[in-house]
């Protein structure tokens, strides 16, 4: 192949690749600016506030020394409670070895975290149970 033809083909391959990259880069830069819209900021802030609130409630109910049992949670509640307390307390599958049971409930009354709140049940002496609601 003649040198000028080889160089022309090279230019075509280079141009094809550069145009493909450049067009996608422009599209990427545009779409990235849409990743920081006020709606997304609001949604992320709400989510942060929700977990912050539940964390405050959990700290008002449970200490780091507690062994916590979650009574039959749904998968969603299980994941949410794990996110809230799984990093600083011990969780157990056996109620007998726990010191406290913790549940995530929903209500429109009282202090809630966007409609959710935490409740603990502790065994008291004499077989009585103490039910407490989280404060946030």
């Amino acid at each position: 192949m003649k040198p000028w033809l080889r160089a022309a083909v090279a230019a075509v391959v280079g141009l094809l690749a550069i145009v493909g990259i450049a067009l996608t880069a422009v599209h990427a830069a545009r779409s990235e600016s849409h990743l920081a819209t006020p709606a997304l900021v609001h949604s992320a802030t709400q989510s942060d506030a929700y977990f912050e609130c539940l964390s405050t409630q959990a700290h008002s109910l449970v200490s780091a020394h507690d062994i916590v049992y979650l009574p039959k949670p749904t998968l969603a509640n299980w994941v949410t409670l794990t996110k809230v307390i799984g990093g600083w307390v011990r969780l157990t599958l056996r109620p007998a070895s726990s010191t406290v049971a913790l549940a995530l409930l929903h209500s429109t009354r009282g202090a809630t975290c966007q409609g959710d709140y935490l409740v603990t049940i502790r065994r008291q002496s004499g077989g009585r149970a103490l039910i407490s609601r989280g404060r946030s």
Binding site: P3, W4, A11, I21, H27, W78
Partner: protein, 478 residues
């Protein structure tokens, strides 16, 4: 401490811990700068493994490993005068100045990385970030006893306790070091480590142009053209990468980090010449890849084997050196999975249990789900076919490896990931729906990098035209 203060302090400490080992292994190259925090992050990951396996806290092990790496590097420098002299010569060469285009290239790649970080304006903490990475970080920040009990706790199986610890260890390290244990600090730290990894991958393209421009013998103008094209292509490809990863770059997910480091490892380990310095860069990148995600371990293992084969094929005599190096790397990659088995970490629900559906239906679902994220592979294939037909000689003159190496890496990684979906357990539709947009990040990025390298080869080939025309010009009449 404010989030900015905490993040800057953590980044500085991570970088400082890696200065001597990185400069010793990689040499005084610009790519060493973004590698410093990555080396620190790798040190964090290794410290987390040690904390869980043995005793003590993350900070204790970080200090031990950082000091250990420093001492070993110092001993190597003292006992290897030839290496010391080589590094001294390289430093002396730096004092004569760096090409202005390379400085512009560094600035351009940094600038192209910024849009990826724009979404840090959104204080977003991803679902998995809170459920997995941040939770593991809390465990690590409580020390050996708590961390070991947590990863063995069957009740916490939904948080995938067997996932590798690097990302979580960076978060925990930032919290413990600065005393600011907010989710925001953790997420911003991961985003900045991602940015460092992207810089390394982007710089790989400029490195190709820098080396190629000299080897091409295309004259002063040709050199300038190839270098300028390298800067342009690197900046554009980094912008593209930001678009591919989207919000995952800044919401604390781990998929972006291993994808960036794996792409950079392909460039430095399978495209650029396998010099000791490039292999050191690759080793560090594969270390990060293997300690970041489970698929990262598998992909890093495939790359280690490919790099070893490439080095053995190129090397004259003593093939046992790269083979022994590869064996050591594979053993290092297997430390975390073995530890999870020995420690009795409960099986990850996504990789245990019954398989739903036939293999063919799962394969069909997997291909259908992956394809929309991998259209770029078509462009890469067209460039590779045209380039393979017409630009092989130019690629050779640029000093680049055969294009088949990155393609084998791409196919190998895709086979590993698709194989997990097809032969793995559970409902594949649900699994794909919740993960395929993240697990295909690496393949899409590598395809873009293949396109970028052909773009450079094309420009280099075109720049040879002027050179080729020189002998055909008629001498001017006297």
């Amino acid at each position: 401490m404010s989030t900015t203060g905490a993040v800057v302090l953590t980044l500085l400490v991570l970088a400082a811990s890696g200065v001597v080992p990185v400069l010793l292994a990689v040499g005084p190259r610009l790519v060493a700068l973004p590698l410093l925090p990555l080396a620190g992050a790798l040190c964090c990951g290794v410290a987390a493994v040690s904390e869980i396996a043995l005793f003590g806290s993350l900070l204790l092990w970080f200090v031990l490993w950082a000091v250990g790496a420093f001492v070993v590097s110092a001993v190597v420098l003292v006992t290897h005068p030839a290496l010391r002299q080589r590094r001294r010569r390289q430093l002396a060469a730096l004092r004569h100045g760096v090409r202005p285009l390379l400085v512009i290239g560094g600035v351009a790649v940094v600038a192209a990385t910024v849009p990826m970080l724009w979404s840090l304006k959104v204080p977003s903490v991803g679902f998995d970030t809170r459920a997995i990475w941040m939770l593991h970080a809390r465990w690590l920040s409580h020390g050996h006893t708590f961390a070991l009990a947590a990863i063995r706790n069957r009740f916490l199986v939904v948080s995938h306790p067997g996932y590798p610890p690097l990302v979580s260890s960076v978060m925990a390290f930032a919290w413990r070091l600065t005393g600011t244990s907010s989710a925001r600090v953790g997420v911003v730290m991961v985003a900045l480590v991602n940015a460092c990894a992207l810089f390394v991958a982007g710089w790989g393209i400029i490195e190709v142009a820098r080396r190629g421009a000299v080897r091409l013998h295309a004259g002063q103008r040709g050199q300038q053209l190839v270098l300028a094209a390298g800067v342009l292509v690197a900046a554009l490809t980094v912008l593209v990468a930001g678009g591919v990863v989207g919000l995952f770059a800044t919401n604390g997910y781990a998929d972006v980090l291993w994808s960036f480091t794996a792409v950079a490892a392909v460039v430095f380990g399978l495209v650029l010449p396998p010099t000791p310095s490039n292999l050191a860069v690759t080793a560090l990148l594969l270390g990060v890849t293997g300690l970041t995600k489970v698929e990262g371990i598998a992909v890093a293992g495939v790359f280690v084997i490919l790099i070893a084969v490439r080095v053995v094929v190129r090397r004259q005599g003593r093939p046992w050196v790269p083979i022994a190096g590869a064996a050591a790397a594979i053993v290092a990659l297997l430390v975390w999975p073995l530890l999870t088995i020995i420690a009795g970490v409960p099986s990850d629900p996504s990789i245990s249990g019954q398989r739903d559906g036939s293999l063919s239906s799962r394969a069909h679902s997997t291909i259908s789900a992956m394809w929309p994220h991998l259209h770029v592979v078509v462009l890469a294939l067209v460039c590779s076919v045209l380039g393979g037909l017409f630009l092989r000689a130019v690629r050779g003159r640029l000093g680049l490896a055969n294009d088949l190496w990155p393609w084998v890496a791409l196919i190998g990684a895709t086979a590993v990931l698709a194989g997990a979906y097809v032969f793995g357990p559970g409902n594949v539709e649900l699994w794909l729906a919740t993960s395929v947009n993240r697990t295909t990040i690496f393949e899409a990025l590598l395809a873009w990098w293949i396109v970028a390298l052909w773009a450079l080869s094309g420009v280099a080939g075109a720049s040879l035209l002027e050179r080729a025309q020189v002998p055909t010009r008629k001498p001017a009449a006297p």
